[in-house]
C-alpha cells in the first residue's frame, strides 16, 4: 500500500476512534504500539507491520494493537492516562538526550576565549539541572606543532575545563577527561594550520 494512502486511512480511522469512548486495556497476547511526541512536541511517524498488513501512525498518542499472526488493528488515539498506565515506568526511565557544549581556547594556550569562559557557567547550570551520571571532557588542538605536543596541550585544556566545572560544584567523580590532540579536528585542515575552531574542549553531558 502506498504510504500516502496508508496515512489517509489512519487519519480516517482516527476520526472514527475519537467518536467512541476509550476502550478497555487490550487483551493479553496483543502487543500495543504507541506513537508519542518528543520533548519539543514534535511527532514523527512509525509503520507497524504485522502478518499480512501494516498501519502508519503519525498523530500524537496514536496507537495500534496487534494480535499474534494477525494484521494490526485500527489505529486509535490513546488517552494520556492509559499511556501512563501501560508504559509509564518505561517512559520515566528514558534518559534525556545528551547535550554537547564546545569551549574554545586562545592560540597555543590553556586559556579560554572570553566568550567561552562566560559559557562555562551555562555548562555548570546544565549539568546541575539534568543531574547526570556522566560528563565527558575531551580536549582538542589545531594542527600547529607536533602531535605529541598537541596531545599534551589538549590534555591540559581538558583539565582546565574540568577544574572550572569542579569549582562550579560538579562532582569530580562524574567527570571523565580525555585528550584527542590534533587528531579529531572539528574543521579538517592540513598540518601546521592555525584554526581557532579546532582549539577546543568538548563537554558532553549524559
Amino acid at each position: 500500500m502506498p504510504r500516502r494512502l496508508a496515512a489517509c486511512i489512519a487519519i480516517l480511522l482516527l476520526t472514527a476512534a475519537c467518536a467512541t469512548t476509550p476502550k478497555a486495556p487490550p487483551p493479553s497476547g496483543q502487543d500495543v504500539f504507541i506513537l508519542l511526541p518528543d520533548e519539543q512536541g514534535k511527532t514523527g511517524s512509525i509503520i507497524v507491520s504485522g502478518a499480512g498488513g501494516k498501519r502508519l501512525l503519525s498523530e500524537p498518542r496514536q496507537a495500534v494493537t496487534v494480535a499474534p499472526g494477525a494484521a494490526p488493528g485500527e489505529p486509535f488515539v490513546m488517552p494520556r492516562e492509559e499511556v501512563r498506565a501501560l508504559v509509564g515506568p518505561a517512559l520515566a526511565a528514558l534518559p534525556k538526550p545528551p547535550m554537547q557544549f564546545i569551549l574554545y581556547f586562545k592560540h597555543d594556550d590553556i586559556e579560554l576565549t572570553n566568550e567561552s569562559l562566560t559559557k562555562v557557567q551555562e555548562v555548570v547550570r546544565a549539568i546541575r539541572e539534568r543531574g547526570p551520571v556522566d560528563v565527558s571532557v575531551v580536549g582538542h588542538t589545531d594542527t600547529v606543532g607536533t602531535r605529541r605536543y598537541n596531545f599534551r596541550l589538549s590534555l591540559k585544556r581538558a583539565r582546565v575545563v574540568a577544574a572550572l566545572l569542579t569549582e562550579g560544584g560538579v562532582a569530580p567523580s562524574i567527570l571523565s577527561i580525555t585528550s584527542h590532540g590534533e587528531d579529531n579536528p572539528l574543521v579538517p585542515t592540513g598540518n601546521e594550520v592555525p584554526e581557532p575552531r579546532n582549539r577546543r574542549v568538548e563537554v558532553t553531558v549524559r
Binding site: 493479553s28 502487543d31 508519542l36 518528543d38 511517524s45 507491520s49 501501560l86 508504559v87 520515566a92 534525556k96
Partner: protein
C-alpha cells in the same frame, strides 16, 4: 537486557538514541552500526517481553530506513520519532 519486577533501565546509544525498559522486560539489540563517515548506519532490536520506549538519535535522522524494532507480533519501521511498546506478556510467563 532484562529487568525484574521492580526494575527499569535507560540506555543512551553512541548515536544519541535513547531507549528504556519498564519492569519485567526482555530486550535484545541485534545490530548497532554507527560509522557516519563510512555511511554505515543501522539499528535492529527485539522486545520479547514487557515494555519499552525509544527516542531516535542520529541513525534515525540520517538513515531512518535502517532502524527496525520487532515484537512477538509485529515489526516497526521508524521515521525519526518517539514511541513506546507493550507486549502481550503471555508468551514468556
Amino acid at each position: 537486557m532484562r529487568t525484574g519486577p521492580d526494575g527499569s533501565l535507560g540506555v543512551i546509544l553512541r548515536d544519541n538514541s535513547t531507549l528504556s525498559l519498564g519492569p519485567e522486560s526482555s530486550f535484545v539489540i541485534q545490530k548497532f552500526l554507527f560509522s557516519p563517515a563510512e555511511g554505515k548506519l543501522g539499528l535492529m532490536a527485539r522486545l520479547t517481553k514487557g515494555t519499552m520506549a525509544y527516542l531516535s538519535g542520529l541513525i534515525g535522522k540520517l538513515a531512518p530506513e535502517s532502524v527496525r524494532f520487532e515484537t512477538p507480533t509485529a515489526s516497526i519501521g521508524v521515521r525519526g520519532t518517539h514511541f513506546a511498546v507493550k507486549t502481550g506478556e503471555f508468551a514468556s510467563q
